[in-house]
Amino acid sequence: MKTAATLRSLFMRELRLVWRGGHLMPVLAFVFICVTLMPFGIGPELALLQRLAPGLIWVIMLMAVLLSLDRLFQADFEDGSLDQLFLLPVALEWAVIAKIAAHFAGIILPVLITLPVAGLLLNIHPESVLPVMATMLTGAPALVMLGGIGAALAVAVRRAALLTVLIVTPLYVPVIVFGAGALSTALSVPGTLDVTALGVLALISTATVFLAPPAIAAALRAGLR
């Protein structure tokens, strides 16, 4: 009971910090800038854009998650809040979950909601919007959890953003592969879902939700000085 109350408070606090800190706007701006740049790069031909849209959306989202990672633990490390996280009456693993959940709710979820809209700019079939969101919602927890491992490993490193990207990208390959697979089905036959790919994606997400927090907590402990 006490653990749940502590975690709820931590979640609410983090959510408020994300909101007050204005961390969402840059990520959203990044997403729309990327979407706008794509037709310039590959040409404004609508049929081509429609064919490439699933992969583009998926990669843009992955980069948005990567971009958002550096504030996950870095700020707490610098201002001493990370120390206080260790002194909480709950296990660090739980605190990590609460923090990541807030990050997910405060940044990733809004990005997810706007991404299909951004996809319309890439000529996505309107009927595909819901399947696209379902796919991304299934895969996003894995992206955030795996990203958390990289962010925690690089927590004590100055200018850690690039290092985090280097560490995290190989971990993202399975997620991005199955996500893109599910997306391509959803977009080629509007209104359908690729149950196999979604199932594997859900499996990966579930596994990371259980396995990543201990790794993140261990990485944060290793980063203490």
Partner: protein, 224 residues
């Protein structure tokens, strides 16, 4: 001009200072502690025992390992050798939940207000406790600043806000790293008063500081 308030942590009627309600009193023992940084050994074979009500002043040159020692005690740093143990609590294995650590950094979030800071601290560290936020704000002399962002506070005000965590959430072990930094004379006196009240209630404190610590009854010189 408003008079500068000197007696923080006393309420409007005056005089009612911090009276901690410690559910537990503990004693602390460190044995053969060693600290290494890179390939260098900072200190080794360090041991001491502290009982309830004792205040230890840790001093020593820059880089002698004062901060590292404090962090080792609450488990924020793994010692290169040796161990720390507490007795007097039912789960003596994990020391961290019985400690307050006041570090160099204030651990404050600039975008929260002092009121929110205290509310969240209570909810996070002692979820079963009712928050006496208004009292703490008054005690800390931050009543007027209660709803402006922490970023707008002065260094001394931030320090006093950090101290409300120690006062508001009873924990028997206080680890304070240079607690007098950024504080005026009244603030310094305040720290001493709080530590004395804490010790009188059966708590123990370890204070790392360059200057004299009047409230301490034990001293440890690192690197001597």
């Amino acid at each position: 001009m408003e008079m500068v308030k000197t007696e923080y942590f006393s309420n409007a009627e005056g005089g009612r200072l911090y009276r901690p309600d410690l559910a537990e009193t503990v004693s602390l023992r460190a044995e053969n502690l060693a600290c290494a940084r890179g390939v260098r050994v900072i200190f080794s074979d360090l041991g001491f025992a502290l009982g309830a009500g004792e205040v230890l002043h840790v001093t020593g040159a820059n880089g002698a390992g004062k901060t590292s020692l404090l962090r080792m005690i609450c488990g924020l740093l793994a010692p290169a050798a040796g161990h720390v143990a507490i007795s007097g609590v039912h789960d003596g294995r994990d020391i961290a939940p019985h400690c307050h650590y006041l570090g160099h950094a204030d651990a404050l979030k600039p975008t929260l207000t002092p009121r929110e800071t205290i509310d969240y601290d209570t909810a996070l560290f002692a979820p079963a406790m009712a928050a006496n936020t208004d009292d703490l704000l008054t005690y800390a002399g931050l009543r007027r600043q209660a709803d402006q962002r922490v970023a707008t506070l002065s260094a001394g005000q931030k320090r006093r806000l950090t101290l409300t965590r120690l006062v508001g959430i009873p924990r028997p072990i206080w680890l304070m790293d240079e607690p007098y930094t950024a504080l005026d004379n009244a603030g310094r006196k305040l720290v001493d008063t709080l530590v004395r009240a804490h010790a009188d209630a059966g708590g123990l404190a370890i204070i790392a500081a360059h200057e004299e610590v009047g409230v301490a009854n034990r001293q440890l010189v690192l690197g001597a």
